[in-house]
């Protein structure tokens, strides 16, 4: 009986070793194909066709020359503009996030203000003594209900004012961001015109 078991175990071990030997020499992954290189014009979404039989190298040189010429003539560099626009957008997003956080803080600060007033007012009862009392903690307290009402109203006013201010700031940031985006789009448009004119002068057909 023990001889049979040993024989079975032996065959299993031999089988497993053979399987391992088969799987170990794994085939190396095929090398990644390089992405087709975009021309300068293509990155700007400008389509250029050589009408005088210029080759790719000549076209690349001409595009680079025209790019520099357009930068000098328009005073704007699209790649720089894109970077600036991204930065402006990030700043606007940050400003909006800050505004949201401020709004949340304002909302949180209001919670319990009425309760505090009410608790402070739960003790004694001066009728005249608490008239026009801004400070709920000062002197003897007043009725719980009245305390709560006053505290809530004042907090609401403060909250509304703060909230309005934050909203205005947020709107201003958004407007500035939109204006910056519009200005950038206009500058890029002008650049493309200059770039196209230059290429057309060198016998390329250009569309964008």
């Amino acid at each position: 009986m023990t001889v049979k078991i040993l024989a079975v175990l032996g065959s299993v071990v031999v089988g497993a070793a053979a399987a391992l030997a088969q799987t170990q020499p794994a085939a190396p992954p095929p090398p990644a194909q390089p992405a087709p290189q975009k021309t300068l014009a293509a990155t700007l979404n400008v389509y250029v066709f050589p009408t005088a039989g210029q080759d790719a190298a000549k076209q690349s040189t001409d595009e680079a020359t025209c790019y520099n010429w357009a930068v000098q003539n328009t005073g704007s560099d699209p790649f720089q503009l894109q970077k600036q626009a991204q930065q402006a957008q990030q700043q606007a997003q940050q400003a909006q996030q800050q505004a949201q956080q401020q709004q949340e803080q304002i909302a949180k600060s209001g919670e319990g203000a009425g309760v505090k007033g009410a608790v402070a007012g739960a003790a004694a009862g001066a009728l005249i003594g608490e008239i026009a009392s801004d400070d709920a903690g000062k002197g003897a307290a007043y009725g719980a209900a009245a305390g709560a009402v006053v505290a809530r109203r004042r907090t609401k006013q403060a909250q509304a004012e703060a909230s309005q201010q934050v909203e205005q700031q947020s709107q201003q940031a958004q407007q500035q961001s939109q204006q910056a985006q519009q200005a950038t789009a206009q500058q890029i448009e002008n650049f493309k015109k200059a770039f196209s004119v230059c290429l057309e002068a060198q016998k390329y057909m250009v569309k964008y």
Binding site: G125, A126, L127, I128, G129, E130, I131, A132, S133, G139, A140, Y142, G143, A144, A145, A146, V149, V150, R153
Partner: protein, 145 residues
Amino acid sequence: MPKRYLMAFAVLLAVPGASVWADDLTGSTRFLCAAVQATECREGGECAIDVPWDLNVPEFIEIDLNARRLSTTKASGQNRETTIEHLSRRDGTIVLQGFEMERAFSFVITEQTGRVAVAVATEGRVVAVFGACTTLPSAAGPGAK
């Protein structure tokens, strides 16, 4: 006929108006006063009109001349009270004065109309309250004299 209707209509309008805006307090010693409007003025000259309860003025104040006491109504649940230190009743005018927590106050009540004017003064601030009072049945409790 139309004239009669007009007359009846005028009387109907006039009677509730009179009862709302005038209440003769002559001879009474307990009143219920409602604060109608409050104005807060600060020493810089800024004044603001507000509803009384936003200045911690109770909506209703019970006045007990015999007990020399101003208090909030039971129903309000506020349980506030102030002692009247000076009381005079002369020529149809009731004057109540006192002092509490750095605040001096004066109530001037016109007996014939039931109207009340209140001034509460503290450092740098004055609150003026206008209201109307009506009579309450005399108290039979320990506070009554």
